[in-house]
Subunit: 247 residues, 3 copies
């Protein structure tokens, strides 16, 4: 069976790092189908990596192995993990990157071979584990059960009695602000406030406003997003990850 | 049979959007071979997307499905299309992006499911259609014939009685100006004028001039290009898409 | 058998060039698995391309074909090469890009078809040759033996009687300085000097120093690297390719 392996890293595409990881995967799991989620996670930004993984993983076919490496603590005492849930497998550092997965996930501690490069566990620890999972090795055969895995989930919105209070959790390449306010929690006519700036009522899409205008809508990830048609909401509003949003 | 699906978008590689599209493709068309044409089309630049698709599609194997999404009108009344010509299939928005294909192409209107995200037809409308085409569904089974498809072809050069008048239609990452003047229409000794600047006679390649010098040649797409060896013709000449070129 | 073909170019990912090369590969070697090493080699930087290829090629499965195109002399009299060593095949220009391979490599001269675009041998000369190798054609069937292939290996370190003298050979996207000093040649307690700045003794990894601090370690390529945790050593030290390093 052909297994899909996805890759999510902050390695960038300029150097040979991603290729070295893929070489290990193809050498040890011939026939695996490799799919990049992104390699342009900002360096060391575990939270951005977590968000991207959370959006993407569940859309891949059952049986997919997800290799996620945003790992500022590589080579230190932080643990290496492999896990499984909902028919998908996951490999990555124990630093919160994998926190967005369901609580029912099972986790094991990956042993770190003595000859692994201390700065490149992606190639020498995580990729070999992903290749084993992709070729049918059972999760439990990769290491002992992991206790007390780091959980650092994205912030949840709260109801303050009058409104939902949330925040921006991601800014995409278009400058669109992705919030953690679920689209189905707010009334369609609600007026959104980002920082101290009121944005109009929810629309369906960019094209519903003029060029350069602010627009809020339920985004493709299911939460409210704020954009500027043909522009950047992040720049226009001076907002970014952590900016408060009320609805 | 393994089918190739190409992807051309302005989604960029930083976010999860391309991966979400690929997840849908692999979940619905297992075994499909996915090839990126580019995801760095300038945001909303339908014309640049059209140029890149025109250059690339016909070089892929017969049976390839081309998924092209530069879609500033996503979620509005603009139609969604699928088409076929010369043994290739195409899926994308009806905004001129697909205008470079032969006139003999057949087109159908893709229905938009009610639960499609209004800002992400790439994932929820176009990718499912591409997967169906890649797994052998006939074009006509995807929707009713489309009438009056938007045609917005790249500008054609004209002969003014003394010279060919064309324009720059694309600037590549090296700053090379790609014109719409066919290489076989002009005499080899012709002197090219870009804007009001005369460029020397046609050469074969960059290496035929000194570093930093301007050079014109018949480019790999069959039309005349103007470059600077180890530099940017766009910057040196202050020229870009739309700049007039005479030969 | 499914063969892997790797691609290393300075074409960038914005234009259609990489896709045109991949189209030729898939049309002529159906089923080949294409893996990008990098397409963001700085334009015309043969040395950077050589370094990246040297790091990556040997980790791919035996039988892999490596297509390497950083080719400022495209279309001039520089030769086109194909080669084989250690069960891997290589295709690229004869400009030193392939110098990092073992001396035992066999090389042949690739003929350049008359209709090849003078500025795009990647598509019209190198990709067809790579496809033939990937589908089982013997190297010797592609052209006559090549004499006096250009050798331009990366600089080697030397022992001056008191210390190893080397240099920075690559700077990665994190600003980490990769030197040519082999990790196993220096004593663990050695104090490294980059330019005229002393860096502390070798550590294991980034996480062994505070944020913003300089750190030297044996990198994942086996040579000494100098980094700044959460920063750029290149910027902090004003160092780059060619900067002298003593250990």
């Amino acid at each position: 069976m052909t297994r899909v392996i996805t890759l999510l890293t902050d390695y960038g595409l300029r150097d040979s790092y991603v290729a070295e990881v893929k070489a290990v995967l193809l050498a040890r799991a011939p026939g695996a189908v490799l799919v990049d989620v992104s390699h342009d996670v900002p360096a060391g930004d575990v939270r951005a990596g977590q968000y991207l993984l959370a959006r993407a993983w569940h859309r891949f076919p059952t049986g997919t192995v997800h290799l996620a490496i945003v790992d500022p603590g590589v080579g230190t005492a932080r643990r290496a993990l492999a896990g499984a849930v909902a028919g998908h497998c996951f490999v990555g550092p124990d630093n919160g990157l994998l926190s967005a997965l369901p609580d029912t996930a099972r986790w094991i501690d990956l042993p770190v071979p003595a000859d692994a490069a201390a700065t490149f566990h992606g190639r020498d620890v995580f990729a070999p584990a992903a290749a084993r999972l992709a070729t049918g090795t059972a999760l439990e055969d990769l290491g002992p059960p992991a206790e007390a895995v780091v959980r650092s989930p994205l912030p949840a919105p709260r109801w303050d009695g009058a409104a939902w209070i949330g925040e921006v959790v991601y800014v995409d390449r278009f400058g669109t602000l992705v919030t953690n306010l679920p689209g189905d929690a707010v009334e369609p006519g609600v007026r959104l406030v980002v920082g101290d700036r009121e944005v109009g009522p929810l629309r369906r899409t960019f094209g519903d406003v003029d060029r350069g205008a602010l627009v809020a809508f339920v985004g493709s990830g299911g939460t409210i997003e704020v954009a500027v048609r043909n522009g950047s909401a992040g720049r226009l509003l001076g907002a970014g990850v952590g900016t408060t949003v009320r609805a």
